[in-house]
């Protein structure tokens, strides 16, 4: 017997209703059991819109003989940065250099003379317009919401475009497994592996724990000042309003977030 159009429609309607009712009952039964997984900011986290650092180079000059470059030592030891003797393959997150290397475009002879014996602390400038981020093909390096130019080592494929793009030489490449060159390890922080690029990330992991970057904390002279550039009441903004600060290669338009007080 062929099915009549009328009864076919009835059956279809019933089947639809039945399916919907079944799903609804199942939903009711499992309600409360399945919750969406959630993520949040730790309550103690320091949250900023554009983290920045001000470096008082005169204080660095005054204390350099006694402080033993604690900032560099602390940074490199807590982040498991290897000490590789070969200059061509070394890894550095924060380091010292002379004025004429840090500011090669400042051709003024007098300035060179004034800053002759001043150690300039160099690190990733956490640019507001970072060229390294533009060229990264895997988005392993990206700009986070708080203005830090981050590295997601999991995604880095080691193409080194970012190193070519960075005008400050702030990035280092792991030519080999760095572990043999780390004498004392911090078990709370990972190392890197062969074939990834690394650099300073303004201690994002410490900011999440409510701590300021390690180099700022370690400096006995308080020559490094850390704060939010977008917050008009922050310490960095107060200092920048009062004193003369320069940035490395500002003419390139990368808008660095690391300032050097020179007055």
């Amino acid at each position: 017997m062929a099915i009549k159009r009328r009864s076919f429609l009835k059956l279809t309607g019933l089947a639809l209703l039945g399916t919907a009712a079944g799903a609804a009952v199942e939903n009711l039964l499992t309600r409360g059991e399945i919750k969406a997984q959630e993520y949040t900011y730790p309550p103690e986290a320091l949250i900023g819109k554009r983290w920045a650092m001000v470096i008082d180079v005169k204080k660095c000059r005054k204390a350099r003989n006694t402080c033993g470059a604690k900032c560099i030592e602390v940074c490199h030891s807590i982040h498991n940065v290897p000490s590789i003797p070969d200059k061509k393959k070394e890894i550095k997150w924060i380091w010292e250099d002379s004025f004429e290397h840090a500011f090669p475009e400042q051709a003024d002879e007098h300035l060179k003379e004034i800053f002759k014996d001043v150690p300039f602390l160099l690190l990733c400038n956490q640019c507001d317009n970072p060229p390294c981020v533009r060229v990264c093909p895997t988005r392993a390096t990206f700009k986070s919401k708080d203005g830090i130019v981050m590295m997601d080592f999991h995604r880095c494929i080691g193409c080194r475009f970012c190193m070519a793009a960075c005008p400050f030489g702030a990035r280092s490449f792991n030519w080999f497994d760095p572990r043999p060159y780390i004498s004392k390890v911090n078990p709370e922080y990972p190392t890197r592996m062969k074939g990834v690029v690394e650099k300073c990330m303004f201690c994002y992991e410490r900011l999440a724990q409510g701590k300021i970057p390690a180099c700022v904390e370690a400096c006995p002279e308080k020559a490094l000042i850390f704060g939010d550039l977008e917050d008009p009441n922050s310490e960095v903004n107060k200092i920048l309003k009062e004193r003369v600060a320069i940035r490395r290669k500002a003419e390139l338009g990368t808008r660095p977030s690391v300032f050097y007080l020179i007055d």
Partner: protein, 128 residues
């Protein structure tokens, strides 16, 4: 069927041959990987079944949220909050990677490269 006896006999032989691994390990409990669970801690961030099936997805989401979104805290389905960190959270309870991670991973021949960068607790101990 022609030669039914022979054909069926060889079919059975073939089936037995291809199921050799099953017969060799039949009833042997040690063939099933036994990851060592922490003795003091009874509760993981999510249920045991969930962790068994989805730990890799969870870890991947943890990475994305912590590094890319700055959200360093995970709220589990029971409302408990955890700091997102492989070395500072997971491995504080699972103190031996070789007796936990490796047991299953070796069994199923997967070699995730977590430990190329992250430092396993036993490696950290030897390093100091």
């Amino acid at each position: 069927m022609y030669n039914a006896g022979k054909v069926i006999f060889f079919i059975i032989v073939l089936i037995l041959f291809f199921t050799i691994p099953m017969w060799l390990n039949f009833g042997r409990l040690e063939a099933i990987p036994q990851p060592e669970l922490p003795k003091e801690e009874k509760k993981c961030v999510e249920s045991k079944d969930y962790m068994k099936a989805y730990h890799m997805k969870l870890l991947d989401n943890w990475r994305k949220r912590a590094i890319r979104e700055n959200q360093h805290m995970y709220i589990a389905s029971d409302g408990e909050k955890y700091t997102i960190s492989l070395q500072r959270t997971c491995m504080k309870c699972h103190t031996e990677k070789e007796k936990f991670c490796d047991r299953c991973h070796n069994f199923v021949i997967t070699h995730p490269d977590c430990w190329d960068c992250h430092i396993a607790p036993e490696v950290a101990k030897k390093w100091q």
